[in-house]
Symmetry: C3
Subunit: 363 residues, 3 copies
């Protein structure tokens, strides 16, 4: 017969095996799926233009899937695949996009290298754009018309964590290719080539410094140099450009204050004097009344060339106020009102005023 | 030394932990993947037009992926992403579609709310369209030309289970936007905006009652009201529409009997008298000879406006007979013959007769 | 009080349950995800044309996801879904493609049947095209212009493993549909219909024999018959075609030698004498200096009709040398130089010379 001591030994062995199972899982769960990560986000919008009689819009603006894979502890793949506007194909309004696809390598304990297609390290929304992370049905205009988010390029990016909340990134990557003439000349947003058979005659560089060392504070500044935003062939005049963006966000006791400024300066060879300088300013205050419910107000001022050969830039002010309601932390219902004002002759100050509602999710 | 009682206690604890592991899994399997659900379906068709000399077709008609995520026991995300016709892009025949993307909330034990983009609760195929669930290579024409399946809109849907097999759904959502002129005027199917930058001037509502309280029986009726199927700007004439659809399916001892009727009535402002009423009738009998092999016959009668400004509608009868062979329960090989007859002058009664074979899967 | 014997019995039961958990996993990990397989690959390229002054290119050439599902031990689904050139939609350079979607059935222990859409069993790259498996930023031209990889069709393929390293495949499938006139007449690559509403008037058959019975050696020969590469309607002249492809690869001590030849013969009804025969030859030598680093040289000779109605074919020679560096086994950085030479009048011998770098991954 077994002694109590023997039995105890067996029990201890079983207990250890159970602990091991709890920690490491079972062979029944596939190793491949363990290394795989899948997620996504999306948002559906309804825009009611209050002063217009038509063209209210319902749109599944974005539907995104993430696929990642951990090759080992130091090397990983990440990608973001997107369908915009619900429907893509010949004669359809939407498009399918590869927004990110890169290999990330932990080169040391506090440095890493990204190779491939990545989001340019500029602005607040460009790299973190899940709809549950920001207020407002639509993204703000500064990060659409001045910083043309979502903005990705292909190349290499080196990042270092200097400690104390200080990090920097430096990247060399493909450049913009704006239209010289045609429907949208000089328009920054239309210059994105999206790494889709992109002209690679000329490149660009971006650097960012970020500081998040004080609880509640997150601030960053980015500088970007574009060699030639028209990707001229050799021997032709080039138009270089410099983008400077800076922002700060401070959160305390449910309230969050954000301020952001971005400005482009292009070489005078751009030809249209008004287009040489284009800038935007954004300020936002938000307050979370409860864990699920928050209110915000946002003001954006833009001074930019919207594609015309006008002597003066378009000046536009957007004033938005609204609410977010988080059904669960990663699903947000949103509603807001935006008053749009133009300081430019010939623009209808009321045409773009709108009430918008939306739902956004991430997982 | 341990007493037998002590040992027994330890054994009981281990037994509980093992039970808990069996039920809840281990931390080794990622929590994210546990909450994620992934599936899909697809079908590839070959259509041989027996009386025509050309234009037989091979087509990867649909390739679909589902992605879902359970936020908690009561809130979940579900989506359906599709590539039609194998190839989408400039000048390509196919398209990429977001067919579903909604948040579902269990509001009480027997009610739920869907917010986002969902399939309109009308018909048999529209919400359940995996190819292994129906007979016939191609879907029937009633749920293509009268109920324009696959048909999705964005909005909100409330559903309640009343018990005893009785449920209802009521939804407010985006509406149709048919063409007034051009290639396909008044064509219902072409009116689907697919939530792709959809005109949202006017909306629509759909209600459905469903009864499945008797074993083998499934019946439902839906009514839909469209405020204006041309999405007119304010001040212009509107063309409202009402769709009524009803169907019943009864299965007994391997045999299944299905009957379905759907009818649209549009406001006379639609301008083309023939287009004011458009309807269809479908009847189907199928019999599963073995678990894997079934035969069916289907008859469809349509009286609809196929886009012309004709005084009379097109009347079309499709008579189909064929077989399904399930390799496994969710993979079906299909073959059928369809005789198409037009009761309208100037239509070739033989041109669309076809033998079709197909393979469909879901997972 | 429990006897030691009772306690031992309980301990034995627990130990068995733990073993069972280790082997079969827990119910906490979803059964569906266990049967699901997900993977993918992709590649991003930069091509610098050394003798040209413009049109260097950066492109996210391919982004691919695999989705598979095991219905049971003998029946499985596999699919490959791709976004080419980063961006697909109206006016965009890329396209979304379904490259594979088939059901595979193990009919016996050494035979299997594929039904659906599959890669044609011809060549080296067509079926195995993950970028970490080959040398060179771009695929070689023989498997682009003669064997139009990536090349898929829909139909059925039967495969048998005869033992001793000998296998064969025989497939009946949809055919090519080349352009008779227009931008790319007689161009093989442009004849791929990609199962996208493909004309199915005429079909094709492919057979392959493969031998891999000697360690380090892999050789195969394929023959394909096309009934009519213009998919003529009945009563019209047909243009049949025969493709013969053969290749051998031998690896020893880090060195790999590859040779490949492919040739088309079309019926003289094709009308352009030069287009009747089109062929290519490829030879490659590579050497893995370390586990992570390899060098290669490749020579390709093509004699093909590039779409003109010329009396003579275009003759092109590509000489490429470069390196692969595997960051991890399934992620490769690549760099190479290609010298392109034309033996055809009027072609610029230098225009296509290029230095290319790329990154490719699979998971």
């Amino acid at each position: 017969e077994q002694s109590a001591e023997d039995l105890q030994k067996q029990i201890d062995i079983l207990a250890q095996e159970i602990e091991s199972l709890k920690e490491n899982g079972t062979s029944g769960s596939s190793n491949v799926l363990d290394k795989l990560s899948i997620g996504g986000y999306g948002e559906i919008h309804y825009n009611n233009y209050t002063e217009r009689d038509n063209n209210d819009q319902i749109d599944a603006h974005r539907y995104v899937l993430y696929f990642g894979y951990d090759y080992n502890d130091k090397v990983r793949f990440f990608s973001e695949f997107e369908l915009e506007h619900s429907l893509a194909g010949e004669g359809k309004p939407g498009e399918v996009e590869l927004e990110q696809a890169y290999i990330e390598i932990d080169t040391t304990a506090n440095t890493k290298l990204r190779l491939g297609q990545f989001l340019v390290p500029v602005g607040i929304l460009n790299e973190t754009h899940e709809p549950d992370t920001f207020y407002g049905v639509e993204r703000n205009n500064l990060e659409s018309k001045i910083v043309p988010a979502t903005w990705w390029e292909a190349g290499a990016m080196f990042s270092q964590d200097l400690g104390g909340g200080l990090t920097y990134d430096i990247a060399g990557h493909s450049g913009l290719n704006m239209f010289k003439a045609g429907g949208t000349p000089n328009k920054i947003r239309s210059g994105r080539q999206k790494v889709a058979e992109a002209n690679g005659n000329k490149g660009a560089m971006t650097g960012r410094v970020r500081y998040a060392g004080i609880p509640g504070l997150d601030m960053a500044a980015s500088v970007q140099y574009q060699q030639d935003v028209f990707q001229a062939a050799q021997g032709f005049d080039t138009v270089s450009g410099v983008l400077v963006e800076a922002h700060a966000r401070y959160s305390i006791a449910g309230a969050t204050f954000t301020i952001q400024h971005a400005e482009w300066e292009f070489d005078e060879e751009i030809g249209v004097e008004a287009a040489e300088e284009q800038s935007g300013l954004m300020a936002e205050v938000s307050y979370k009344l409860t864990e699920k419910f928050g209110v915000f107000a946002r003001h954006t001022e833009l001074d930019w060339n919207d594609g015309g050969a006008d002597l003066e830039n378009t000046e536009r002010t957007d004033s938005t106020a609204g609410v977010n309601y988080w059904i669960v932390p990663r699903v947000a219902l949103k509603a807001d009102y935006t008053d749009v004002h133009y300081d430019t002759d010939g623009k209808d100050n009321d045409a773009d005023d709108n009430v918008s509602i939306g739902i956004g999710w991430s997982f």
